[in-house]
């Protein structure tokens, strides 16, 4: 005999409230965000008519073909990917000692200090940080002053003369851009790495050395493999953030275009939204592939 109180069964009531709670955020994200992403994808399948410079709303792969056949475009893609890889490797190398110390050697108080010390720059304004580096790397800025003080100014000049990566000053060379990228994403590499390193049980290291391995061997055979998920997780950030950035290359660095800059320019002054969209699909695909690779390495468990 069903009770007369209430119209819905308890399960029905629960489901109703659940739907009520979830609907607004889901609708918002679905429509505003997913909807926008969909229109972007759609735009990449359109093309700009060469004569009228207007977007022709017909499905075509012409824009994509433009993307992958023009040598200038290939240059851009390659340049961006290479920079992303270089930045990832460098961040990993620099982040490691910091993460290692933080995770395993620091006293609790020092550890808290380190965590705050890594979080603060991470949350400091992005533009302020980029701007700071512009100052530092400028022609007469701190960097060259520093080199001068240690008598290495000659080395710096020679470095800047290296083709491709050099330039008139650090602030307008790929080397400078590289340094800024590494700086910006360093905290994103340090934190997952520290978390992964913290999880390595001390007993494993003791067992390794008990069995006769030198510290270097223990590092190579025990620590490094176990830290790999943390590295993979951190590298997701450094890779995808570098791939999509358009501000740093325009503020610091050589004239060569990067994917991000291309996207920004194409949708703006060049009025070629389809091409911009096509360009932006590349990072999505690359990041997707990278995520699949990183997942194999256990990055998702380390996040």
């Amino acid at each position: 005999m069903a009770s007369r109180r209430g119209e819905f069964s308890p399960q029905g009531r629960q489901a109703f409230y659940f739907a009520l709670l979830l609907a607004p955020p889901l609708l918002w994200l679905g429509i505003v965000y997913l909807g926008s992403l969909a229109t972007l994808l759609l735009q990449s399948l359109y093309a700009v008519d060469e004569f009228t410079a207007r977007i022709v709303p017909e499905f075509t792969l012409a824009t994509y073909r433009q993307l992958v056949t023009q040598p200038a475009h290939i240059d851009i893609l390659l340049r961006t990917v290479l920079m992303a890889i270089a930045v990832t490797v460098a961040s990993a190398v620099i982040a490691f000692p910091v993460a290692l110390y933080m995770a395993r050697y620091a006293s609790p108080r020092l550890k808290a200090l380190f965590y705050v010390g890594v979080m603060l720059p991470m949350w400091t304004s992005y533009l302020v940080k980029v701007y700071a580096w512009r100052l530092i790397l400028a022609k007469q800025g701190i960097a060259s002053w520093g080199f001068e003080q240690v008598g290495m100014i000659g080395a710096l000049d020679r470095l800047l003369e290296v083709p491709v990566v050099g330039g008139p000053s650090l602030a307008s060379s790929y080397i400078g851009m590289f340094v800024v990228f590494v700086y910006m994403w360093l905290p994103f590499m340090i934190l997952p790495l520290a978390a992964a390193l913290e999880r390595v049980p001390q007993s494993l290291l003791q067992a390794s050395s008990d069995l006769g391995a030198s510290p270097a061997q223990t590092f190579r055979n025990v620590v490094l493999p176990l830290a790999l998920p943390g590295l993979a997780a951190g590298s997701i950030f450094t890779f995808s953030l570098t791939l999509g950035d358009y501000i740093i290359p325009s503020v610091v660095g050589a004239p060569g275009y990067f994917i991000g800059m291309m996207v920004y320019q194409q949708q703006g002054t060049a009025g070629n939204l389809p091409l911009a969209a096509a360009f932006s699909v590349v990072p999505i695909v690359l990041i997707g592939l990278y995520l699949m690779l990183a997942r194999r390495l256990g990055a998702f468990d380390a996040l």
Binding site: M1, S3, R5, S9, P10, R13
Partner: protein, 340 residues
């Protein structure tokens, strides 16, 4: 008179696991009722269904004759004391106790008065302004009690109320709960896995196993006349004798239970009293427990009997050594036939 609680063929399954398998029972008003069983037996599920935190897959729940099966918890005249007490840490003790009144719109002055009343009832009258984390475990439990009683529910449910307390406190609280229930006249239903607790506090006990009620009886009946092997073992750890041995020693081919303290050890070559059942076996171990000693005797390949001997005043005889042969006897009336 209508029963306070009536459960009819309640069934609740979680996926492939059947927590309650068509359970029915009736609880009279003013009864102190216990749901006893090991973990996973379904007793807690049963309690939660009565409270309304879960819904049965099939069956009916009646409170005072009204069908409340699909009524939400806030509309049932039932209140619960939770295992972890569930006191709200951001409210004072008094606010916690008055919560049930606050959500019903009772005015502040009235709330304060009645909260104080309840706190006096559980002898925590001065603790109103304290916060839960400042109280001891036993005090927190009494606050939880006060909070649950402020609405004068028809039924009070208690989920393993004494589990978190140490032995001394537990014994105190047992007496206090019993006294409180008798004074208030409310029906108490509590869940426990401790048979001692159930036997000492409850008027009637339902013994749960694997989602079914094995036996529903008064504590005395459960102890003296267990109906199944499970109940015999769980309530008072009786010896359960089954199979061929049961045939040999018990009679008409059925399993039976015999309490350790009802088995006598025949000294020396003394004959057994007339009519007693007799057997013999090898002592496996013998432990001294102060007021009594417990021996385990291997009677045959499948049967080990536990034998309790009270320490008689002035007794100087040592316990039988391990490996020694002893002869046991008991009165046939003490062997309780079991259903399975």
């Amino acid at each position: 008179m209508l029963p306070a609680i009536e459960l009819r063929a309640l069934r609740r399954a979680f996926g492939p696991i059947v927590a309650l398998d068509s359970v029915s029972l009736t609880i009279a008003p003013g009864e102190f009722f216990a749901l006893l069983g090991p973990s996973g037996s379904g007793k807690t599920t049963c309690l939660r269904l009565i409270a309304g935190f879960d819904q049965p897959d099939s069956g009916t729940i009646l409170l005072d004759g009204d069908d409340v099966t699909s009524t939400p918890p806030f509309a049932r005249d039932v209140n619960t004391v939770f295992q972890d007490y569930a006191l709200f840490p951001h409210m004072t003790v008094a606010d916690n106790v008055a919560y049930g009144l606050r959500v019903r719109g009772v005015a502040a002055a009235e709330r304060a008065r009645r909260a104080r009343e309840m706190l006096d009832l559980v002898r925590l009258g001065e603790f109103g302004t304290r916060r839960p984390h400042e109280l001891s475990g036993g005090q927190r439990q009494r606050v939880a009690l006060a909070r649950a009683l402020i609405n004068h529910p028809k039924v009070l449910l208690l989920d393993e109320p004494l589990g978190a307390l140490d032995l001394k406190l537990r014994e105190e609280m047992q007496a206090e709960l019993k006294g409180l229930q008798q004074r208030l006249g409310i029906t108490f239903v509590f869940v426990t896995h401790d048979q001692d607790e159930a036997l000492s506090m409850a008027d009637r006990v339902a013994v749960f196993s694997n989602g079914r009620i094995e036996q529903l009886d008064t504590p005395r009946e459960l102890y003296n006349r267990p109906q199944t092997a499970f109940v015999a073992r769980f309530v008072g750890s009786a010896n359960v004798v089954q199979g061929e041995t049961a045939q040999r020693l018990g009679g008409p081919g059925r399993a039976f239970a015999i309490r350790p303290e009802l088995i006598d050890v025949l000294p020396g070559t003394a004959a057994a009293p007339a009519g007693h059942v007799q057997c013999s076996g090898e002592v496996l171990d013998a432990l001294y427990h102060g007021a009594s000693s417990r021996m385990r005797v291997q009677v045959d390949a499948q049967t080990i009997l536990a034998v309790d001997q009270a320490e008689l005043r002035g007794a100087t005889s040592a316990m039988p050594a391990v490996g020694a042969l002893v002869r046991l006897a008991w009165h046939p009336d003490h062997a309780v036939p079991l259903r399975d």
